[in-house]
Symmetry: C2
Subunit: 341 residues, 2 copies
């Protein structure tokens, strides 16, 4: 199995990515890694982490980088030789089985949409973010790939998320919830109300509307959302977690007693931080692309990079995209735009 | 000044509400309170908190209650003699200057829309939720009154929020941000992109797109949103705060050292909780209604009830609705549906 990895993606590239790849090569000796990025900038780290000339590693030169700050359309048009577009082209040509980037989500979505295209029956790919519930986790999708969605997009997100949760979360009958503003069936906006009617008819374990607070209680394995609200939820959780850390730190340094208390209970705070961390998960799958694509957090550390690569390999192993294509085909017109009905 | 209070609203009604009213009568001797609810169920608490027959207190009987669990449309149609509809009627008739309910948001929005109507130039009322930033707070609006919004609704939310932040938050030039999925101007969904173009032209301190995570960093005083995404954000924050409390408690009881540490640092956790608490704020204004209406959290305690009443009195004092009407009129067609342009 060959996994393509974007060496230039994320806030700490390429060092962190190369270190993550080094760990992967040790932990998963059966994997072949294709590392794509600027050869001169990677070289130093290949030496540093002792994987220069490693048999299971191939390095491919890509001269430009999609900067995190630039719009995705610009990246795609102006940077035809960036690591992300190079990976997308290789994925399209089946030169790699999966691609992993801890980089620019927008640029990756744009590049895969245009170059790799979507699976048969899938209109638009969606980003599945793994969110922490009180116990366990849930998959929020779409977490931001599509700002404006139609009913058939939401239905496809639900089906793709269902398959992902079944194979990657090992849930036999994953509970699929629809992100809404009230628990009752009648609550919601026009989009969710129409989506509700279709989800009810699908051969999935649909548990109805799920409010954002209930999602953290763990009432669903997959929470279906348009990409705008989903992204608001993802970033709200990120922002509040950061603010909570800030308030805690402030509060715990206010007096000598509190500082001592904080030292004694230190591991509890480390554990708290781990709940919000995406390192274990590694990355968010961009589902619906005709090729496995995992997008890591921009702030990924080497463990996160390694785990993102592991997840991508699992997706290939499970034949995830084959399963998604089958399920979408089985459901037929219910998952397609209404014009066709 | 006469403030109408819904005795039957919230999870701990009517006891908590009556206690909150008792505190208000002591702290604000100039206020007249009209307490609306089921006379038999209120009586006991009036005696308990020593305000039975109090000169500044009038009790009005309303036989039915809008249960938190029932749909708002049902409440409005079937329960014409509920405390919420009674208050809305009194507000309409100017028998009270403001109404306060720690109750059913949906029923209150429906009752005020139908019975009290909106201010001149305002199409739909919006709920302004006070959210905690790292330092200070921001007003999120709409936090859930309107699930489907058009551009002119968003523009009106921005203007109403601006006036509210100016008078209630005492900000001279409140920073108005637009909730979106990217900081750059070009990011967003169709609704936010169109809204952005109008907000740029208004005589307000518009700071552009604000991502949900940046909002918690305190980059804006008012965050403008449609009611669906706003409600997702509000409930996401609620849910994650609750989950964080759960994880902390779990972590802090795992070993003897951690328990001792938690005891020593106890006040830090109390302070952390206070950041997320709405007690100080008391309630969320339903802005745009032709009469002051403050909606408290269903879980309000007596302090929250007292503070919601205080906020409603401040709104009356500042002539908030007069200001909103003036600002909306000044802006003219920019704040109205495009058909008119």
């Amino acid at each position: 199995m060959r996994i393509g990895v974007d060496a230039m993606g994320g806030d700490f590239a390429p060092g962190v990515v190369v270190e993550g790849v080094a760990r992967t090569l040790v932990d998963f000796p059966d994997l072949d890694i294709v590392l794509v990025g600027h050869r001169d900038r990677i070289g130093f780290y290949l030496e540093k982490y002792g994987i220069a000339g490693f048999p299971h590693l191939e390095v491919i030169h890509a001269p430009t980088v999609c900067e995190m700050s630039e719009p995705s359309a610009v990246s795609l048009r102006a940077k035809k030789d960036s690591s992300i577009t190079a990976l997308a082209r290789m994925l399209k040509a089946r030169e790699i089985d999966a691609m992993v980037t801890p980089g620019h989500t927008g640029a990756t979505v744009a590049a895969t949409k245009v170059l790799v295209r979507t699976l048969p029956g899938v209109d638009r790919p969606a980003l599945g973010a793994s969110m922490p519930a009180k116990e366990g986790r849930f998959l929020l999708m779409d977490a931001g790939a599509n700002t404006d969605c139609q009913v058939h997009n939401m239905v496809q997100f639900a089906l793709m998320g269902e398959v992902y949760a079944r194979y990657l979360y090992h849930r036999e009958r994953p509970r699929i919830g629809l992100l809404s503003v009230g628990g009752e069936d009648i609550k919601g906006c026009e989009l969710t109300k129409e989506t509700f009617k279709i989800l009810e008819q699908l051969p999935i374990n649909f548990v109805g509307n799920v409010e954002a607070n209930a999602a953290f209680d763990g009432v669903a394995d997959v929470v279906v959302s348009d990409g705008f609200s989903g992204n608001v939820m993802l970033k709200c959780a990120e922002g509040l977690a950061r603010a909570t850390g800030y308030w805690l730190k402030q509060g715990l340094t206010k007096s000598a007693a509190r500082v001592i208390g904080a030292v004694l209970a230190k591991n509890a705070f480390t554990e708290l931080k781990a709940h919000g961390s995406s390192d274990v998960i590694g990355g968010a799958p961009l589902l619906g692309v005709n090729g496995i694509c995992i997008i890591g957090h921009g702030g990924s550390n080497p463990v996160a990079v390694r785990n993102a690569i592991r997840v991508s390999a699992e997706c290939v192993e499970f034949g995830l995209n084959q399963r998604i294509t089958e399920v979408i085909a089985e459901v037929g017109e219910l998952a397609q735009p209404t014009e066709k009905k």
